[in-house]
């Protein structure tokens, strides 16, 4: 097991840079998720760690070795690919044991380890089949079996669940988490799904256009997003972000030139400024007559609670309400905005104002 140290890593294809100097320090045994929209460079970064892409600049260390120039086989890593990349001409057992065989393990050891791995992943009954005869979830398990059997220093996952349906995805998420708990191996996991990121990660690295926007624990990125990008990306529904202006004396905040709402004391840090106000859905609530007047636009009952899109003056915000809340589309309500929990961002840079 080992930590991973990524320092000033740059990647360019020809003269087109796609990753501009990333620094990331992954602790030994940590589960780090790289998340971001497609094209942000998360897969490229993963492949650079794996050795499948060359490193244009900077260094990548696994443990205390600089691996920039090591071929994949010498990095002691295992990887699970998005489309599993199972060898179609080999049986499940052969697939799982392939890496051991390539590293010269003897047949006895291979068989033993393959069996162990199969038991952990509950694929013992599939060992003699070929990948073509398996379902998506089964293939996923085989792909993971192939990774864990080698007991590598680092696991790399490249959007491993994106080909599965929602239920299987949730199931596999749990499996992966269990595996991590069981083996404690360092994991780097790429996904574009923030739910996966939040549920799995010890720490999340949110990537945007080739650089790290924020690298922190799920709680941290959720509660203290460094930028509107992170704020919008993490959490479901997305954080409401609306333009606002804080009065020079910081006692009130005006949402888009309309309703003036009393501001909490902490807003003094941005007194007299145009800001972007970020407010998560759960921080909207129904209020008495002294609340902010709003109109319900759309109601989405989820069972456990109800989401509703609210029109407040000229801005729209989504709120999360108890299932029994008396909401109907087109109805007028008054809202309580829990501004103590709100985030302020600079409208120019999108960065949080702290």
């Amino acid at each position: 097991m080992a930590g991973i140290e990524i320092a000033k890593v740059v990647k360019a294809y020809g003269s087109v840079p796609v990753i501009h100097g990333i620094d990331l320090s992954v602790r030994d045994g940590e589960f780090v998720v790289l998340v971001g929209p497609s094209g942000c460079g998360k897969s490229t970064l993963l492949r650079m760690i794996a050795g499948l892409e060359s490193v244009t600049g900077g260094t990548i260390r696994i443990g205390d070795r600089v691996v920039n120039d090591l071929p994949p086989r010498d990095r002691d890593i295992a990887m699970v690919f998005q489309d599993y990349a199972l060898y179609p001409h080999r049986t499940v057992a052969e697939n799982v044991g392939f890496g051991l065989r390539m590293r010269g393990a003897d047949a006895m050891t291979i068989e033993k380890k393959v069996k162990e791995a199969a038991e952990i992943l509950q694929i013992t009954h599939l060992l003699d089949r070929k990948p073509g005869q398996l379902s998506g979830g089964q293939r996923q398990r085989v792909a993971m079996g192939r990774a864990i059997v080698r007991d590598p220093k680092v696991f790399l996952f490249d959007e491993p669940l994106s080909n599965l349906d929602a239920q299987l995805r949730a199931e596999m998420r749990v499996e992966i988490k269990k595996l991590h708990q069981r083996f404690g191996t360092t994991i780097i996991y790429v996904t574009h799904d923030q739910v996966e990121a939040m549920t799995l990660a010890d720490r999340i690295a949110i990537l945007k256009a080739g650089h790290v926007e924020q690298f922190a624990t799920p709680d941290e990125v959720y509660r203290r997003p460094r930028s509107t990008f992170v704020a919008r990306f993490i959490g479901s529904p997305s954080m409401n972000i609306v333009p606002a202006r804080i009065a020079p004396d910081a006692t009130t905040i005006t949402l888009d030139g309309d309703a003036a709402v009393p501001a909490p004391a902490s807003f003094a840090r941005a007194r007299g400024r145009d800001v972007l106000l970020g407010l998560r859905a759960e921080h909207l609530g129904l209020a008495g007559p002294d609340g902010v007047p709003a109109r319900t636009v759309i109601v989405e009952p989820l069972g456990s609670d109800t989401l509703a899109l609210m029109q407040i003056g000229r801005v729209e915000m989504t709120g999360r309400f108890p299932p029994a809340a008396p909401l109907r589309a087109g109805g007028d309500v008054t809202l309580r905005l829990d501004l103590e929990q709100a985030h302020l961002f600079d409208p120019e840079t999108g960065l949080a104002i702290v």
Partner: protein
């Protein structure tokens, strides 16, 4: 049920058409090989031999050391096929996967080789083989035969290699393979039909090749079948019945090769699942 039976019938019909197209000249040779020359010359013509004789086959084996020719042909074809497929597979893989500068130009050069008419290169080719001391050895044919088929094999393999998902190789490399290991353990097995096709192309090209064999390996001990078969003909005469018998002897090994390989290829195919 009826639909099913019809489908069966259609499939059988399809098979018959392919077989008939391929077999009719072979059948003609087969029938002719049991005829006498007089019967062959008869007007109106006969298709099935009226008075079958195995005399022609006896002549085939008595008049010329055809088993020796057969042996030479097998050795030359097998070795040149192995050489050709090995070189082609390596080159094709390099061109497909390892971002080489000028890959297009390299491919064009390779193809260009195939376009020089062999006939006009015989004299210098002979000199090369003489200077290498290879004349009248199997190698004098193995090397040029391998070169002859290399462009087509490379192109066939390229088109197959392109279809293999990169991640399969990546997985293999992470599992501990070198590039070559990934080629050998993953790419080649998965492109078995393509490799087989390339191999069969190379094998038959070598098996049929006449001009080089005539010139570079003219001694009896190293002569191959196509040249050997022409020895049954005369300055003026062309004894079809005997030559037919000799052709049958020449074709049978190819049939055996196909029969042997065909199972392997089919099993390679059905395991599939690359894209599934």
């Amino acid at each position: 049920m009826k639909l099913l039976r019809n489908r069966r019938a259609m499939i059988i019909l399809a098979g018959l058409i392919v077989a008939a197209n391929g077999f009719f000249p072979a059948l003609w040779i087969l029938f002719t090989s049991f005829k006498t020359e007089v019967e062959l010359m008869r007007v109106p013509i006969t298709i099935i031999p009226q008075a079958p004789t195995i005399e022609n086959y006896i002549r085939v084996f008595v008049d010329q050391p055809i088993l020796r020719f057969l042996f030479n042909s097998v050795v030359v074809a097998v070795l040149s096929t192995l050489l050709c497929v090995t070189c082609s597979a390596l080159a094709a893989y390099a061109l497909v996967r390892l971002r080489l500068p000028g890959a297009g130009i390299i491919l064009s050069v390779l193809l260009a080789i195939a376009m020089f008419p062999l006939i006009s290169m015989m004299v210098p080719l002979f000199q090369v083989m003489r200077d290498l001391g290879l004349l009248n050895t199997w190698w004098a044919l193995i090397f040029p035969h391998a070169v002859l088929s290399m462009p087509v094999c490379t192109l066939v393999l390229i088109s197959f290699f392109q279809d293999i998902p990169r991640d399969l190789e990546n997985a293999a490399m992470i599992d501990g393979c070198t590039r070559l290991g990934a080629l050998w353990h993953v790419v080649i097995p998965l492109t078995a039909p393509g490799v087989f096709t390339a191999g069969i192309l190379a094998f038959v090209n070598s098996w049929d090749e006449f001009l080089l064999a005539l010139t570079l390996s003219p001694r009896v001990a190293s002569r191959t079948l196509p040249v050997g078969i022409t020895l049954y003909q005369g300055e003026f005469s062309f004894p079809w019945p005997i030559i037919s018998a000799a052709l049958i002897v020449a074709i049978v090994p190819i049939c055996i090769v196909i029969a042997i390989f065909q199972e392997r290829v089919v099993s390679g195919l059905t395991s599939g699942g690359v894209k599934g």
